[in-house]
């Protein structure tokens, strides 16, 4: 993933302007972090409720990006070029169609294994991940798909120096959309009956079933919610980087999982926080150290967090029951 050549960002290697450069990386990192955060919520919700790592979640994100691309091209072909309408249609389409994949994933691959050894579920998840990657590769081709910028331009400030800090309209869009989604999502979890059922299942699946919560439906809805958030992340990724291929889900998935662990797996605010941190770390690492090792940075953080603070930043401490 080309982290430091995002559309919004200005070119790097302008190290004479310390403050400006830092600010630019901060903006880029936050944008990236919001994308990771949206994916991370899917990991953390599923882990919280059925205690498994949904390894195929990165692929759901990738499918979201592809559905977005297809819808953009379709709208272009249909002549709908008014940007706000086009983006809104794409957003709805990708959430809708991608969540079907999320639902089916749980129904076909995970539900039959709910009472099986955890290893079996993990293997199935890896199998699903491989399957979906190759499914998309077969259907849409292996070549990288470029999309011309949909939203261009941006705010420029600190113009007095030669290094111009840019906050692109696209980045504003990503940040605002993420905040909106988070508000809606928080409302759903805290105020709706699905949210209550979801939280109950997260506490104790068996007990939730005993008091009459439809556990199957709640788990399905959890996957649907996670998938639709990931699909929005896919849309943002597509618009931000302008190129996608069938393989983007793997690394983005790993990083988002790292974000979920960093924030404390099972904690929804933690997932967003973790996502933002990973995004920032990645942006600053690429900017100040080496781009080549930026993916190693995410893994190194994952390892360090798990060793020194396995419950993450916002996770609840886990006392060993004997």
């Amino acid at each position: 993933m080309p982290a430091n050549v995002t559309r919004g960002g200005s070119p790097v290697n302008c190290k004479g302007f310390v403050m400006e450069y830092f600010l630019q990386q901060l903006i880029n990192g936050l944008t990236l972090g919001m994308i990771y955060g949206l994916i991370a919520i899917g990991y953390t919700m599923v882990y919280g409720i059925i205690g498994m790592i949904n390894f195929a979640h990165g692929e759901i994100f990738m499918i979201g990006a592809f559905v977005s691309l297809i819808t953009f091209l379709l709208l272009g072909a249909l002549g709908i070029t008014w940007i706000p309408l086009a983006v809104l249609v794409v957003l709805i389409a990708t959430m809708l169609f991608t969540s079907v994949y999320g639902w089916t994933l749980e129904r076909v691959a995970y539900r039959p294994l709910r009472d099986s050894p955890r290893l079996a579920a993990l293997i199935t998840a890896i199998g699903m991940s491989i399957f979906l990657q190759n499914y998309v590769q077969l259907l849409q081709g292996a070549r990288i798909k470029p999309l011309p910028p949909v939203i261009s331009g941006g705010f420029r400030f600190m113009k007095e120096s030669d290094f111009v800090v840019t906050l692109s309209y696209l980045q504003v869009f990503i940040i605002l959309l993420t905040i909106t989604l988070m508000l809606v999502f928080t409302y759903v979890i805290n105020r709706t009956s699905f949210g209550r059922a979801q939280r109950a299942c997260q506490q104790d699946l068996g007990m939730a079933a005993l008091i009459g919560i439809n556990v199957d439906r709640t788990i399905s809805l959890t996957f649907v919610t996670g998938a639709s958030l990931a699909s929005v992340a896919g849309l943002m990724f597509l618009m931000n980087y302008g190129v996608i291929d069938f393989y983007i889900g793997f690394l983005a998935g790993i990083k988002a999982f790292t974000a979920a662990v960093l924030g404390g797996i099972g904690s929804l605010p933690g997932a967003m926080l973790g996502g933002l941190l990973i995004g920032l770390i990645e942006a600053f690492w690429s900017a100040y150290f080496t781009v080549e090792y930026k993916d190693v940075a995410a893994f190194a953080i994952l390892v360090l967090v798990l060793i020194f603070r396995p419950t993450g930043l916002l996770g609840k401490p886990d006392i060993e029951k004997v």
């Binding site: 401490p317 006392i319 060993e320 004997v322």
Partner: protein
Amino acid sequence: MSVAAPDKLGDSLITVEHLTMRFGGLVAIDDVSFQGANREITAIIGPNGAGKTTLFNCLTGFYKPTVGRLTLHHPRKGDFLLERMEGYQIPQRAGVARTFQNIRLFPAMSVLENLIVAQHNALMRASGYSVAGLLGLRGYRQAERQAVELARFWMDRTGLTDRADIDAGNLPYGDQRRLEIARAMCTNPVLLCLDEPAAGLNPRESSDLNALLRYIRDEHSIGILLIEHDMSVVMEISDHIIVLDYGRRIAAGTPEEIRNNPDVIRAYLGENEDEPLPPEVVRDMEEER
């Protein structure tokens, strides 16, 4: 509060001094001190949530106590400060073995294997840390034969010999309880900590258990710490009883003393003594008298 002196004669085996265990704001054990003696069964009783299992977890290294000193006086090796040792070293060096409230066997391994694994450390040395074992040397085969004999001894004692090659997970409940005790004994302990060994047993199994525990105490000369809710077991076989309530030690003494201790009765039955007791409690109390 001074360190509790042993109330009964017998070599002191375990000394617990000012043990306190906190989880965040919750005080699970609050300044508990007592001693357990060699060749004695010391029962630890108390209502649910009194901190009994937490006490065991501190003793066997699963939790690090917040405050306090746990000294094991090993008859041959000297004193061990348990709170400073890693969990696995406590059975390995100090000779403290335990069982669990919800049985923890190796379910996919056979009964015999469960008992052989318990002799891991001795066998590891004998197998030359696997090198001699891989080469199939004689010394190791000899050691393994001895290990099987020890296992067989305890299987005979617990009535599991016929089921030696069955997976532990497929045993009936009562057999699993006894296997767990046999496995603990195969580690050659000096102190055996049993967490509700009679839970879920029928009256016959329960009385067999009493016999087994007495046998272990008398013939193997080791100390037993026993958490138990079944008063018929506690009153019948223990030499000494410690009562915990809300993490505090509220009484200690012989079964006779405990039975008549008003604090204990209050802890078990609640403050409101005007309320009539449930009939089954009355029956239990009368039976024990």
